[in-house]
């Protein structure tokens, strides 16, 4: 018997809402959305946690410029708090090294982190999902039973093909999808909202492709001034901490 599976509900019990930022496809802005969403919620006065579940390409710490912090040990692991965000990532244990983990290892790592992390009271736990619909998303659904998804996409037909599959799967499994965010919009016309209408998910607007966004990565002050963050701030006004 794996004792870890029993305790996960208790570890998450004082978290009001769990929001996973997904989309299936890589490079669509999931990590940027998860990171700025956590930041914006924290700035709005909420108690926020951020869990980076992308063990191959952990990016939230790069986006938020988090380094030199480490969890404390106290009846488990207490994530360090930065910008008011309790931040948990595999990087504490892998540093910058490549992490060649098969699915079974990814699954075990997720279970371990969920079993030992003491989040305490949170209004929101934001989860940055890796690409794919494999172990990470299946364990997120299986182990964090109250999880809701925020879906990111771009207007590209390559991204849309995958995002549709993710929406189809989550819908079938009756997992709440709180919104769809279109990212990296180019000058060309986009039909994203229309093309995803069949899924009946609120469309949370469009963020333009921003040539200069890169400059803001790693600097939360600059980051908060980007159009990206401004858009996320507007969304945050609509989100309630109790669903």
């Amino acid at each position: 018997m794996d004792p870890r599976l029993t305790i996960i509900d208790k570890r998450l019990e004082k978290i009001k809402r769990l929001i996973a930022v997904g989309g299936g496809k890589g490079g669509i802005g999931k990590s940027l959305t998860a990171s700025t969403l956590a930041l914006s919620l924290s700035n709005a006065g909420y108690k926020v946690g951020l869990l980076d579940l992308d063990f191959c390409s952990p990016s939230a710490h790069t986006i938020l410029g988090i380094k030199g912090v480490y969890p404390e040990e106290e009846k488990g692991i207490i994530p360090p708090e930065i910008y008011g965000i309790r931040f948990m990532s595999i990087i504490y244990y892998t540093e910058d090294n490549p992490s060649p983990l098969r699915g079974i290892d990814i699954s075990n790592t997720i279970i371990e982190l969920l079993a030992i992390t003491q989040w305490g009271e949170l209004d929101f736990l934001i989860i940055d999902m890796p690409p794919g619909i494999g172990d990470s998303i299946l364990d997120t659904i299986r182990l964090m039973k109250r999880v809701e998804f925020l879906i990111v996409t771009t207007q590209s037909k390559i991204a849309l093909a995958t995002v549709k599959k993710v929406l189809q799967l989550l819908t079938e499994l009756k997992i709440p999808i709180i919104g769809i965010l279109e990212n990296m919009k180019l000058a060309r016309a986009s039909h994203t909202e229309e093309q995803l209408k069949e899924f009946n998910v609120p469309f949370w607007g469009t963020i333009k492709f921003d040539e200069n966004l890169e400059d803001s990565l790693g600097d939360v002050n600059k980051l908060s001034k980007t159009d990206f963050s401004q858009h996320i701030n507007k969304i945050v006004k609509e989100i309630k901490c109790k669903n």
Binding site: R4, L5, I77
Partner: protein
């Protein structure tokens, strides 16, 4: 003492089993601790007792805690090896990381025969409950 969280998981699980099995008392919990996680058995027993406290269901439970050898097997060359051999020469910081998340063994160690990071943790990963015995 992050192991407290795992000890709590063990007791919670034993209580859950007891409820399912309609035990009035849990008489024995058999626990295996895999060597990758490098948890001191005495410390773990101490934590388990602390968590049990005065809970009547588990207060008089016998705790049997055994070590499980850390057995690794390479997916490339099929070589098998013992984590005990690895830990001898392992940087302390890496050992500590493996203590928290045994899977990071794939980051800090390699198959001693072919050098691959692509191996299975066959046994001895972490904390497992073997059996929960009780009286109805």
């Amino acid at each position: 003492m992050h192991e407290w969280a795992l000890a709590e998981a063990v007791i919670s699980t034993a209580i859950k089993v007891a409820k399912k099995e309609k035990f009035k008392k849990i008489t024995k919990i058999k626990i295996k601790i895999g060597e990758l996680q490098q948890i001191d058995i005495d410390t773990f027993e101490f934590l388990l007792k602390e968590i049990i406290g005065t809970n009547a269901l588990v207060k008089k439970t016998k705790l049997q805690i055994d070590k499980e050898k850390g057995l690794l097997k390479c997916n490339v060359c099929s070589n098998k090896w013992d984590f005990k051999e690895v830990i001898k020469n392992l940087n302390e910081e890496y050992g500590e990381a493996i203590h928290f998340v045994p899977e990071v063994a794939h980051i800090y160690t390699r198959c001693p025969k072919c050098g691959s990071p692509d191996f299975k943790i066959v046994e001895g990963r972490g904390v497992l409950i073997e059996t929960v015995e009780g009286l109805r």
